[in-house]
């Protein structure tokens, strides 16, 4: 590609300091965006922890009333190992799936929000322009 322009036109003078002002404005917007992400992630984290408490209690209760631990303990008995397929199906059927799914989802939200929060805190704005 040609380095020289095809036509010579009158010069256009870029105002002094405009580049710095534009970069500063972009950095301001980036900072605002980071703060928003931090607020949302902290809010999501707090909400997920708050929800995990009752859900966790419900999950523990569900495990207690189900026969899950009883079926699980059978796996240690060599006499019933021949029926491992049936025992496995019973173990799976006795799982409190709804409470478990909810707990996993809330833990996922908590981990995601921690990830976003850490990224927002650790990403540094550029202090000077090239």
């Amino acid at each position: 590609m040609n380095e020289k322009p095809l036509f010579q036109l009158t010069d256009v003078v870029v105002p002094q300091g405009l580049l710095g002002r534009v970069i500063a404005h972009i950095q301001y917007k980036q900072q605002q965006s980071r703060l928003w992400r931090l607020r949302i992630s902290v809010g999501a984290g707090i909400a997920s922890v708050a929800a995990l408490v009752p859900v966790g209690i419900s999950l523990a209760h569900s495990f207690a009333v189900s026969h899950f631990s009883a079926y699980l303990s059978l796996l240690g008995d060599s006499a019933v190992l021949a029926y491992w397929k049936e025992i496995s199906v019973s173990i799976l059927e006795s799982l409190p799936t709804t409470a478990l799914a909810l707990t996993i989802a809330l833990v996922g939200v908590l981990l995601w929000s921690m990830c976003i929060a850490v990224r927002s805190i650790t990403s540094q704005p550029v202090l000077q322009h090239a």
Binding site: M1, N2, E3, P5, L6, F7, Q8, L9, T10, V12, V14, P15, L18, L19, R21, V22, I23, H25, I26, Q27, K29, Q30, S123, Q124, P125, V126, H129, A130
Partner: protein, 183 residues
């Protein structure tokens, strides 16, 4: 980082290196300012357009895909931002920005070169005034080709027009400039 290509810099920015965007901004700042000023002809508006352009670049950096070329992508953002400002200020009507049919005329590359050479001999000020008074669709193609040195393919990507249309607009713009010189 100054030696990195535009595409590498935008990828570095998307991966988390904010300094890469600063380098890209500094690299194209004057050229984008110049192009926008030629379109809008107003210093204050140009400053707003240029600022909005680079903010849009920052916001849409993640949409820049492997295989895309940065320069026409950037110029497209700048062009669209300038046109939006002009529309808001009603400085151009919709029909002025290339909605007319462009009839393909037969030019050889040699005749285009002759036109370019003839026009290049004009005085700077006279030539600048003539280009700035051209209809918008001619002016845009001419500025991008002659001053910003984009290839016709890049102009086609910038203006989102078919290549043949861009070629035709360019030739007609040169012809119009040439005929204005003779009148």
């Amino acid at each position: 980082m100054q030696d990195h290509t535009d595409e590498v810099l935008i990828r570095l920015y998307v991966e988390g290196d904010d300094n890469a965007l600063v380098v890209l901004t500094a690299r194209y700042f004057d050229a984008i300012y110049r192009y926008c000023y030629r379109l809008v002809q107003d210093t204050a508006v140009t400053e707003d357009v240029v600022q909005d352009t680079f903010i849009k670049v920052w916001k849409s950096a993640k949409t820049f895909r492997e295989g895309m070329v940065f320069k026409p992508w950037l110029y497209r953002i700048a062009h669209n931002t300038a046109i939006d400002f002009l529309r808001k200020k009603k400085m151009i009507t919709f029909s002025n920005i290339g909605n007319q049919e462009v009839i393909e005329e037969i030019f050889t590359d040699e005749s285009v070169n002759i036109m370019e050479e003839t026009i290049a001999q004009e005085e700077k000020d006279t030539l600048t005034k003539k280009i700035e008074s051209l209809p918008e669709h001619y002016k845009q193609v001419l500025l991008l080709r002659a001053e910003e040195m984009l290839t016709l393919e890049e102009i086609s990507m910038t203006l989102q027009k078919p290549l043949n249309t861009v070629k035709s607009l360019y030739r007609r713009a040169l012809k119009k400039l040439g005929s204005d010189s003779n009148s």
